[in-house]
Amino acid sequence: MNYTFQFNVVWRNFDALLEGAWLTLQLGVFAFTMGALVGLLGAAIKTYGPWPLRWLVNLYVVFITNTPALIQIYFLYFGLPEFGIRWSNEACVLIGLTLNAGAYLTMILRAGFLSVRRTEMEAGETLGMSPVQKIRYIVVPHIAKSIYPALANFFIVILVMGTSVGAVIGVDELTGQAINLSTVNYRWLEYFTVIAVMYVVLTFIASLGLALVGRWAFRVKARIF
């Protein structure tokens, strides 16, 4: 291999990469949080809702999980303006990722809904709790604890694979920044080597944060290393 790595260019523009990483983290956290709310609603409807609503949720899940996130975001960015709806590229990525994550999380959270002990729900019922209170105080803590690893994994998927889709419609998250910068001086390999390491560091920080939150808030017995 005759290639000579020149990382100097990368270090000179490292601030821009850090900004990109920060945006990646923000997009990931926001899309996951909003997606989790959508997923919670979807899972609640799939478990307790009337059939027309269940049918709608099924349609949404099937439609989203069987099409690529890239195409969904393309549709929002290039398709919606045809109907007079014009969102910024960041908004398109956020909304697209939220809808995408929401569909997957509907399925993941549904497993949590189904594994709640019926007897705990009955206890809540006889103590006079409303359906929303039962979900909030019995189902959600149960889900958080019992399927925490699956949720944490999915967060990493959104953080790494989801957010990088933003690059194609000009959102300057980590991948987008690397593409922008490397088109200036053609140091593709250096930039992409560095951001690969940055993604690993990012997911490591995120995993650590998730494990600490899980232990503290939900008594998840998560191993950090």
Binding site: R117, L127, G128, M129, Y137
Partner: protein
């Protein structure tokens, strides 16, 4: 007027009718026990009273007012009057002991948290669990969990406490700690309706015993009368078997 009157109640699980016209009464301050073979519908009676199993015919009256189990408001009112403790304790696994007890009074009743916590600590003391207020259910023995479940039910200040085979899931050596808690409540004048297989305890604590078989009440009377001189063949046969051992 009886405190609780169950009038000719029928109930079904799906297509299977499990109660075929149950009737009995509970007076204020009384401890009434439902006894009988497994599958006789004793637990179902308690479940219908708190609206977990629908009543298909008949009526339930509390202080002379009939409860309409189809109306959400009436059901909520009924659950204010009657609290149930389950065989499997059914504590909220993700909350500590204190939170298990305070959740319904604070979130359902919207009462002041401080005040509720003070009362909860008193209730936990009553069942001998105040030193475990910060523990989680999976850190407790069955007997301890069941005592917390009793405190949780009492926290809503029910008029009538329903106890569904509360010692059946416990190791024999843990049974007494739960029975002691119930004895203490009986002494304090709590109205209770209990389903139990602890015949000696039923005899000691009850003012009235209702013997059930196959979804019907076979006979009702004072514990000494029912245990020592049952009138029906079915009761004689049942007590002959369970009391001999």
């Amino acid at each position: 007027m009886p405190h609780l009157a169950v009038n000719d109640v029928y109930a079904k699980y799906g297509a299977l009718e499990v109660l075929h016209g149950i009737a009995f009464e509970v007076d204020r301050g009384e401890v009434v026990s439902l006894v009988g073979p497994s599958g006789s519908g004793k637990s179902t009676v308690l479940r219908t009273l708190v609206g977990l199993t629908p009543v298909s015919r008949g009526s339930v009256e509390v202080d002379g007012t009939s409860i309409d189990y189809r109306s959400g408001r009436a059901l909520k009112a009924a659950r204010d009057r009657m609290a149930i403790v389950f065989q499997q304790y059914n504590l909220f696994q993700n909350m500590n002991v204190l939170r298990n007890v305070t959740l319904a009074p604070t979130k359902v009743k919207g009462r002041n948290r401080r005040e509720v916590e003070e009362e909860a600590m008193e209730l936990l003391a009553l069942v001998g669990m105040s030193d475990k207020a910060g523990a989680y259910p999976d850190e407790l023995s069955g007997g301890q969990q069941q005592r917390v479940a009793i405190a949780r039910a009492l926290a809503l200040k029910p008029d009538i406490l329903l106890l569904d085979e509360v010692t059946s899931a416990l190791d024999p050596e843990l049974v007494n700690e739960v029975l002691d808690a119930i004895r203490r409540l009986a002494r304090e004048g709590m109205t209770m309706l209990l389903v139990s297989h602890e015949m000696a305890f039923v005899r000691e604590v009850s003012s009235k015993v209702v013997f059930m078989d196959k979804g019907r009440v076979v006979e009702t009377g004072a514990p000494a009368r029912i245990f020592d001189a049952p009138e029906s063949d079915r009761a004689r046969d049942f007590f002959g078997k369970v009391l001999r051992g």
